[in-house]
């Protein structure tokens, strides 16, 4: 049973506002001329996305988004920027020559994703029941249904950690 779309509920309005913030800051990430500002706009984008998850009652995922993406991944990216010799501040040659192709690829990807979501769900409706996104219900589905991807994730993390160590240690040489 699909409820009427008009008038919108408070949750729908908050969700729309948060999505505008997310899309706007995502655009600023790729258009700003300052590399560090791009990383900071990414924080705003991830934060708005976390807010969207909260409105959709995916409570645990929202706080994971804050902890992992806003907390850890952006710090990793800032470290990545600090490792380079590139100067901070306004950089004129930040745009690559591929920007038109990149914009086309991004638009095409967005078109495919939006088409799939709209075609797949159409007017499907699910009520937002608080509690379905709690740590307990997620734990239940991870350890009942998705154990193998969970264990595969640990191998992925291990591989990436060893890769980071090998790359960052200059005294670990490859085979002659």
């Amino acid at each position: 049973m699909t409820p009427a779309l008009w008038p919108p509920t408070a949750q729908e309005i908050v969700f729309l506002l948060l999505s505008v913030v997310a899309v706007g800051s995502a655009l600023l990430v790729v258009t700003t001329r300052q590399l560090v500002h791009a990383a900071l706009w990414l924080v705003a984008c991830f934060g708005a996305l976390a807010g969207c998850y909260l409105v959709l009652t995916a409570e645990f995922v929202a706080w994971v988004q804050v902890l992992i993406y806003v907390g850890a991944v952006v710090v990793l990216m800032l470290f990545g920027i600090m490792l380079t010799r590139a100067p901070i501040g306004r950089t004129a040659d930040l745009d690559s020559g591929n920007r038109v192709v990149a914009a086309l690829v991004a638009l095409a990807t967005a078109a495919v994703l939006v088409t799939v979501v709209i075609d797949g769900f159409r007017s499907a409706y699910t009520p937002l029941d608080p509690g379905t996104g709690s740590a307990k219900s997620l734990g239940g589905s991870i350890f009942r249904t998705w154990v193998l991807p969970f264990e595969a994730l640990s191998i992925l993390l291990l591989a990436a950690l060893i890769g980071a160590i090998v790359i960052s240690r200059t005294d670990i040489k490859g085979r002659e």
Binding site: V75, P87, F150
Partner: protein, 123 residues
């Protein structure tokens, strides 16, 4: 203000109050203080010594591993939360306990590698 959305409205209002106090303090400070900037006053103050060069230095690649270790531990901790809420429930039991320790063992292998390669020592 009860229920899921009501409790998060309280969180949002609290956040707004915090931002308002912070911004209000800075704004009141700006309105009340005298403001006569000179070139000397605007330079970075560091123990009375004039700053030389730029504020940008390329950092060592070895710090990247520390940041990456932080990411690994954050992902690790995030999976401990849902696990901790269910592993004692009926229908989970020993298998779930072992699954988490297999996960932790793989990550511990990475820590062991970092330790053996003396990444964690302070030089």
């Amino acid at each position: 203000m009860t229920g899921y959305f009501g409790s998060y409205v309280v969180v949002a209002v609290l956040l707004g109050v915090g931002v308002a106090i912070f911004a209000g303090g800075l704004l009141a400070n700006r309105l009340l203080r005298p403001d006569r900037p000179t070139a000397e006053k605007l330079t970075t103050y560091e123990c009375g010594v004039d700053p030389v060069g730029e504020g940008w230095a390329q950092s060592q690649i070895r710090y990247y591993v520390f940041t990456y270790l932080y990411v690994v531990f954050a992902v690790d901790a995030v999976f401990l939360f849902p696990w901790a809420t269910v592993f004692a429930d009926p229908g989970f039991g020993l298998t779930t306990l072992v699954e988490m320790f297999v996960f932790l063992a793989f990550i511990a292998l990475g820590i062991l590698y970092a330790w053996r390669k003396r990444v964690l020592t302070w030089t």
